[in-house]
């Protein structure tokens, strides 16, 4: 009984503390990932790490229809190999609000400071804002605030979920450099599938 009360207090504290889950999406109920009773690891998780947990549903042979893989560079790339894993771009707990006042989709970005804005710790550009409110025009959606909108809102900040990291790509970097005309109006993941490591 005493242990149960302590557990309830811990869960309640986690729910109301800053930086924790506030509004879970329907597909990510607490007990999908957290074992309230008898978890072997910390944070009520079993002894595992985030990528394995995500991939157990979204990876090969997982039950989710939304298939995903970590972000690798192309085998033929001239740049060193990298491996961007789930939590770099996603917060499994909720869709964060972004710095432009909107709300991101697909659990993109995570709150990294008191502002509460969805941000991404990029490989070589520090912590950057991320705005991802639309998947782009192939689904009849606006291109503004999509994967890479080429600064369509003209605020001088390239904050799409794909472009906010990229500095070495030929297209859609996080600055005005390079070309921003590559397949504009299309959805990046139509060719660069999430399930195929974002490699074409």
């Amino acid at each position: 009984m005493k242990r149960c009360l302590i557990l309830i207090a811990v869960v309640a504290a986690a729910m109301i503390s800053p930086g924790s889950a506030k509004a879970l999406i329907a597909a990510h109920q607490c007990n999908y990932c957290h074992a309230v009773h008898g978890a072997a690891g910390s944070a009520l998780l079993n002894d595992t790490q985030a990528e394995t947990l995500c991939m157990s549903c979204h990876g090969p042979a997982g039950i989710s229809t939304l298939k995903a893989e970590v972000h690798l560079n192309d085998r033929n790339s001239v740049y060193p190999a990298f491996r961007i894993t789930c939590r770099t771009c996603h917060d499994p707990h909720d869709n964060g609000g972004n710095w432009l006042g909107g709300s991101n989709i697909r659990l993109t970005g995570s709150r990294q400071d008191a502002t509460g804005y969805a941000r991404i710790t990029t490989p070589n550009s520090g912590v950057r804002e991320v705005v991802f409110e639309s998947r782009g025009s192939t689904a009849g959606m606006p291109t503004l605030h999509s994967f890479a909108d080429a600064d369509e809102d003209a605020n001088g900040y390239y904050d799409g979920v794909c472009e906010t990291c990229h500095t070495l790509t030929k297209f859609h970097r996080n600055s005005a450099a390079g070309s921003h005309n590559h397949n504009t109006g299309d959805t990046c993941v139509r060719c660069h599938l999430h399930a195929s490591n974002f490699v074409k």
Partner: protein, 299 residues
């Protein structure tokens, strides 16, 4: 006497050290393989074909044939789509193509022999397969309608096992002796359906269920049946759980979570060699096959 003792104090350690030099090296408890350039990247399901292992690779979009002893790729062949389930029967390798939603047939050289069940085949998301050679029946977990489908050797649909108990099926194994069918099921926590392994007879009657809460699994994946025990890969735990097939109680585990040899990160399937009782596990995140020598033996 003192001299003897003094000499002994010197000679004994020298002899012991020399003895250690001539001792055979300790046998490796676990061996790892299948990882080299152009080799496995994302192994999923595994099946036996004599001295070879058949492994589907989700990222490479290929099926690999690996030497059991060396755990090295002997050859591979491409699949137009993402391969999941694999099985070997009648000289043919059957491959569940997730992208095309069908089962394809290949010969061991990798030549495509067409679609299982004829030119049109059956629209099916084959997450896992198990072949019972005695009854000439192929059992397939279909992720599309969350059923188990039974086919004859030619690919004709014999029966569909539909059950309200099946929520999110993943893997399948058979106990041919008892004509029992094991179906691993993630369940759905939001619907208060816990992870289970359902046990059906071949007619689709539910006989019992092995509880994930009791045995400690939550993401039950591929399975293998051996020595009256069920070998179950759990994607999150990084372990293969060995369960008593009747009671569901945990008899032992193989592996632990991690990336070192013998450790598992997202294990997705297991097969037990009938002769050697070695256990082979698809270790997805590190992209390799893990062998546990004698892992199929029970205490």
């Amino acid at each position: 006497m003192k001299c003897f003792l003094r000499q002994g104090a010197v000679i004994l350690p020298v002899l012991l050290a020399a003895g250690f030099l001539f001792l055979p090296p300790p046998s490796r408890a676990v061996e790892t393989g299948g990882r080299s350039p152009g080799d496995l990247a994302s192994p999923v399901r595994i099946a036996e074909m004599g001295d070879l292992l058949i492994v589907s690779d989700y990222r490479e979009k290929a099926v690999f044939l690996l030497n059991k002893l060396k755990l090295k790729s002997v050859r591979s062949f491409p699949v137009k789509g993402a391969p999941l389930a694999v099985a070997y029967t009648g000289g043919r390798i059957l491959v569940g193509n997730e992208t095309e939603k069908r089962i394809e047939m290949y010969n061991p050289a990798g030549n495509n022999l067409g679609v299982f069940g004829g030119s049109r085949g059956n629209r099916i998301l084959a997450r896992d397969m198990a072949m019972d050679e005695r009854s000439d029946t192929l059992f397939v977990v279909d992720g599309l309608d969350r059923t188990v489908k039974l086919f004859d050797r030619e690919g004709t649909l014999i029966q569909t096992i539909m059950s309200r108990d099946i929520v999110n099926p993943a893997g399948i194994a058979i106990d041919a002796e008892r004509s029992e069918l094991y179906v691993s099921d993630y369940g759905d926590p939001s619907l208060k359906n816990p992870a289970l392994v359902h046990v059906f007879d071949y007619s689709g009657n539910l006989r019992r269920a092995l509880s994930g809460q009791r045995a400690g699994f939550s993401r039950p994946q591929g399975m293998s049946f051996s020595e009256d025990h069920l070998f179950l890969a759990d994607g999150v735990l990084g372990k293969v759980l060995v369960l008593d097939s009747s009671s569901g109680s945990l008899a032992k585990t193989l592996g632990s979570f991690g990336a070192e040899p013998g450790q598992l990160m997202l294990p997705l399937d297991v097969v037990i060699d009938r002769l050697t009782k070695d256990a082979y596990v698809t270790n997805n995140r590190p992209g390799r096959i893990e062998r546990f020598p004698g892992g199929g033996l029970l205490p």
